[in-house]
Symmetry: C2
Subunit: 710 residues, 2 copies
């Protein structure tokens, strides 16, 4: 992999000096990257099932166009006014549409679900969910809607009648919602069986999980909004999987085979609806069993796959069934060091390891109708890319995307075509239609939306990690009037934790536009994706296990060494900023490497891992009882006396991810140590400061850097 990365050294924006007269504002930098500067793209692309036709939007979703690979310029399928007349509805756009079959789509206003057949030009009201319904989920046939209300699960039957699946009066027992704080790839709690005979669902008993109090200051007086928050090492959620049988109206429950607070993850249905597959992970997260259950009886049949790892096992991709007529499935695992695909029988027999790549598979896109080819997204050898590949059941793999970059791909239902939108270092956005022979038809190629603006350059290089051998990718953004004879101050932007990669082969290289604004203020903006970040494989990411902060900091310091080696960097004027894990990194860098940075701004930081939640936290840090030394070592509170320079801590007051206790505990410790530092709250903001207030936030951050990094 390292050799491939070298190829990426020294990219530069090719910019024409001519015409670049407009200046970015900070508001542009924070708010407009995906608005005013959004590239020309195909909006609302959907393949129509059972055909090779597709639809897309014009007029920001108010116009629905139909086209096909041979004639990509579409014609209007149905106008909003005609649709509304047929449905007796008041839709203002087609956003949120789902396709039911070759001629029917579903549209919802959030409460009412309508079906519209564009061949017959008829439509009907399918289902009405009550006010307060959440997590609404259509079945595969798109004729039933399951949803939650408060802590219970319901669905709307074919007569538009609401049916209760659960009726728990104890509000601590929650059905049909996401679980385990959406770790393990979990994003919801409702799983219709393929033919709609069953609804599987997550049920979590959080009655013993501690309440964490948040304050709603918009009420008079301020009102308590408690959340259930299982901190590391404390009592956690107890899961079950319910299987509701629509024929018998009975529910069976599957409980963990291990401890009551083990994790039930990656739920999948076999195509024939006979089985439910669940990856059970022990609370220690070092032992995973892919278990097979009988859907009608709720009984355990067998363990299909077992995987252990002393660092962690983290299944994130449910079993994938390539064919609707076979129970053979594809399992994703990083047991050989990279996320690879394995083809299994339902008996648990490994039929074939499909891929043996030394790079990371990111997601499975689908399969052809016969189920003989699996399509997936992967980095390819250069971890900054997101490419599309296919592999057949014999393990023959081929690359589908010709150009390096970050691709978003949508397969047609037969797998004969795919839609591909991509960007890379030099392309803001290009949308293609690609056939089975990889012939590309350009749908839209965006102009460069920044062409009239003074924009700096971005330079991608690799440096060696603190281990002396691993290559790390770095990104250095310079101002448009960069002068190598000058000495520039630098802002290091850091995240550094797992599940994230800051530098990608995409337009602006994964950078935020505000970094270009900051560069124009006479700054260099630097980032390095240290060991522990994602898309480089298990060894690279898992080295952080038990000692969060240690290797990440060492690698960041290698980044600093690199910066100091540059003749145009003022090594005495380095600042650092990051959010969340990046806030932890910023604080850790300020306190454990004092004197390196004059200025740090840490947003929503984890300060002491014991205040973080169990699912993410115990994976990386284990339990305090097993690893007190690691907790102490990582605890920023233990280093407050080291502070040199200026440190600003920021927190959203109703942050329910990294609760504000992290920051207040650290501030309290600084005060006790007689250390001056700064803090700023964003009232009623959660873990991210969103909307217009984000401009205020970034001005706060960057003003602080500019004022203090001297």
């Amino acid at each position: 992999m390292n050799k491939n990365l070298i190829a990426f050294v020294s990219f530069f924006f090719i910019v024409a000096a001519f015409g670049q007269t407009k200046e970015l504002t900070l508001e542009d930098g924070v708010m407009q990257q995906y608005r005013a500067f959004r590239p020309d793209q195909v909006l609302g692309f959907h393949w129509i099932p059972e055909t090779n036709k597709f639809v897309y939007f014009e007029e920001l979703g108010r116009k629905l166009m139909i086209a096909n690979p041979n004639d990509t310029k579409g014609t209007e399928l149905v106008s909003l006014s005609d649709l509304n007349e047929v449905l007796k509805a008041d839709f203002r756009s087609f956003w949120g549409m789902e396709w039911k079959d070759a001629s029917t789509f579903i549209l919802t206003d959030g409460s009412k679900y309508y079906a519209y057949n564009f061949t017959t030009k008829k439509g009907n009201l399918l289902a009405t969910t009550p006010d307060g319904a959440a997590n609404s989920t259509l079945n595969n046939a798109k004729d039933l809607v399951a949803f939650t209300e408060e802590n219970n699960l319901y669905f709307i039957d074919k007569n538009n009648i609401k049916v209760a699946v659960t009726a728990e009066t104890n509000s601590g027992i929650v059905s049909g919602q996401t679980y385990a704080r959406s770790e393990f790839g979990i994003s919801g709690g409702i799983f219709w069986s393929p033919k709609s005979s069953f609804i599987a669902f997550y049920q979590k008993d959080e009655t013993e999980v501690a309440d964490y109090p948040l304050l709603d200051i918009t009420e008079t007086p301020g009102k308590l909004m408690s959340i259930k928050y299982p901190m590391i090492g404390q009592k956690s959620e107890k899961p079950r999987v319910g299987i509701y049988n629509l024929a018998t109206k009975e529910t069976l429950f599957i409980t963990p085979k291990g401890a009551v607070d083990a994790y039930l993850t990656n739920l999948a249905w076999s195509p024939d609806e006979k089985y439910v597959l669940i990856a059970e992970v022990n609370r220690e997260q070092n032992n995973m069993s892919m278990n097979l259950y009988d859907a009608k009886l709720g009984t355990f049949i067998r363990t299909l796959i077992n995987e252990k790892n002393e660092r962690w096992v983290e299944p994130e991709k449910p079993a994938f069934f390539p064919s609707k007529t076979s129970n053979n499935f594809v399992w994703s695992s990083e047991k050989d060091g990279f996320q690879n695909l394995y083809y299994y029988s339902i008996e648990g027999k490994l039929i074939k390891q499909l891929t043996s790549n030394k790079f990371v598979i990111k997601s499975i896109l689908g399969s052809n109708t016969k189920g003989t080819e699996i399509y997936f997204e992967a980095t390819g050898p250069n971890a900054m890319n997101t490419l599309a590949y296919k592999v057949d059941l014999k393990g023959k793999q081929s690359l589908l995307t010709k150009t390096d970059g970050t691709h978003t791909v949508a397969l047609s239902s037969d797998g004969n075509y795919f839609f591909d939108e991509y960007s890379n270092h030099s392309t803001q956005s290009k949308s293609l239609l690609v056939d089975s022979k990889l012939k590309e038809t350009v749908l839209v190629e965006s102009t460069n939306k920044y062409k009239d603006y003074k924009m700096g350059t971005s330079e991608i290089k690799t440096i060696k990690a603190a281990d002396g051998t691993t290559d790390l990718v770095t990104r250095l953004i310079k101002p448009s009037n960069f002068d190598a004879a000058k000495k520039y101050p630098v802002l290091v932007y850091v995240y550094g934790g797992p599940h994230a990669q800051l530098i990608t082969n995409s337009y602006l290289d994964g950078a935020s536009l505000w970094m270009y604004w900051m560069a124009e203020q006479g700054y260099l903006i630097f980032t390095v994706d240290n060991r522990g970040s994602e898309n480089r494989g298990f060894a690279f990411e898992s080295i952080i296990h038990g000692r969060l902060g240690v290797h990440e900091i060492d690698d960041q310091i290698k980044g600093v060494d690199y910066l100091k080696s540059l003749p145009y960097v003022d090594g005495n004027r380095l600042a650092v900023h990051g959010w969340s894990f990046g806030g932890f990194m910023t604080t850790s860098l300020m306190l454990r490497k004092p004197g390196t940075f004059t200025t740090g701004v840490a947003g929503g930081p984890v300060t002491d891992w014991k205040y973080y939640e169990a699912m993410y936290g115990e994976r990386y840090m284990d339990m305090p009882a097993e690893n007190q030394k690691g907790f102490d070592e990582a605890n920023t509170l233990n280093y407050v006396k080291n502070l040199e320079g200026k440190l600003l801590l920021i927190h959203g007051t109703v942050d329910d991810v990294v609760v504000m206790q992290h920051n207040f505990a650290l501030v309290k410790k600084f005060i006790e140590a007689e250390k001056q530092m700064d803090f700023f709250p964003y009232p009623m903001h959660k873990h991210n400061v969103g909307g217009k207030d984000r401009v205020h936030l970034m001005k706060k951050v960057l003003d602080y850097v500019i004022d203090n990094n001297k």
Copy 2:
């Protein structure tokens, strides 16, 4: 009054340049004013009842001395070791002692109460209160202890048995504790009758008062600590006065004659125990009735006094009975514009208006044994003083203290002597014994504890208020090396609200020592006691009614005008700082007089009066429904767009007086208005940042001023 104030113009410290070499540190300024720089004083002075003897402490309370007016140099009364041997106790000092009779005192470790007779040299355990007991209150005979546990009231009887007075299982019904948030002079909820036949007590039903959530971050996870907090205009406490009869063991309850949430204040017993007097104030606080109740029956007898005022009526001094053998009483009222004394019969007949001063009586000190002379503290004509006076029942008044300044006076039990400790502009502390002919014996005269330090000067002047006629007192502190040819920046320190006076005729003129530290940094520190502050009479204080901030700001701006008139003031470098009401003033000045100050630091500010508590808030602002215009006018949130310069807001995270919602609501508004400002929290601190952390606080405040007032 104004003419008298003129006399105070242009005081200066008389300082000897010689020897002033030491420099104050900020830590000195914040922590040592009443520690290392504490003047020599008589500690622990107590008159012994029924005698003219007195006791005092040596060795910081570890040694108990007895003396008398003829021989003021005392002898040791009893040693701690002898006392502990007799009592089988482990006292480390005599602090907290109370006198029972001419030869017996009571000492408690907080749980056990002991009596010690220094004549017989015998002692005994009087009472043991349980762990968790609070508000412990001895009866007059000092042989019974009433106390609260949780929400109930108990007492320890003569057999050292705990007796329950109340047994409420509803924790929202609270007996024996302070009430009405300690407004109306209320400081406790237990009132033993003179002969201990009854216990009167406050009971508040706060079940309908809203909970305000505070967060204890010292627990993992952070734990909810809700407080009952009745915000302005919302459901408030419903009071009763219970009268427990020790003979019958029954409790009768007195409820308000008006609305259920009217205030029952200023509870007093008649000497013969037949009556309880209660000043009932309506919720609007513009109508007060002094009502007489039968103690045995709990029945209302008659209204003795009624007082109305369209601004407010604020009784703060319970009926005072000069004689133990008469039910005639002294009532304090500011109905004629100043706090004056009125002598009433128990029938409600005004016998005599005792005083008709145009200055403020601060407190009643006591009376002579016959009840013919009432001793009291008052400002005298110069409102900066606190002097002692007496008045007889014919209204003949005479001044007891010869020297201007701030006196603290303790009367002997027969009223023939008094102990007097005072300070003034030029005297750090002097302790006197004064006889009935006002002959003074000096007990201790302190040396100047600052004499070795570089200390600036304090200048007291008067300026005209914004009304053009009222004199306001100002204080200007200058550095020791003041040079009138230079231009100095100024920090204005402000409070500005009722119930407070910042400038007094005492050593340092009421200033905090940190102001002298700040002066040495090349600053002038200025304060003006604007209209609305205390000790200047009702008209002066009550002009703020309904429009908090308006006149106070106007007067502060007159202070600024005065500063700008001084040749040595740099009018472009003014900063302002205040806490609580002073935080409200600071924020209001920054937002409603933008451009006046470059820098403001507001601690624990009220930002929107609707978030403040009912008792104090409704007195000054009425209800939002009556005075929405006033609330809008006073609401700092409505002026955020005006901000110029730098503003730092500070709050204790568990402030239960001005809840942090004030500050967060204001910060939120600043963010919405795209205004940058600063905020700093003091985790787990309440309305005042106390202890060592106060040094951090003042460094935070003063660094901010120094860094930004440029």
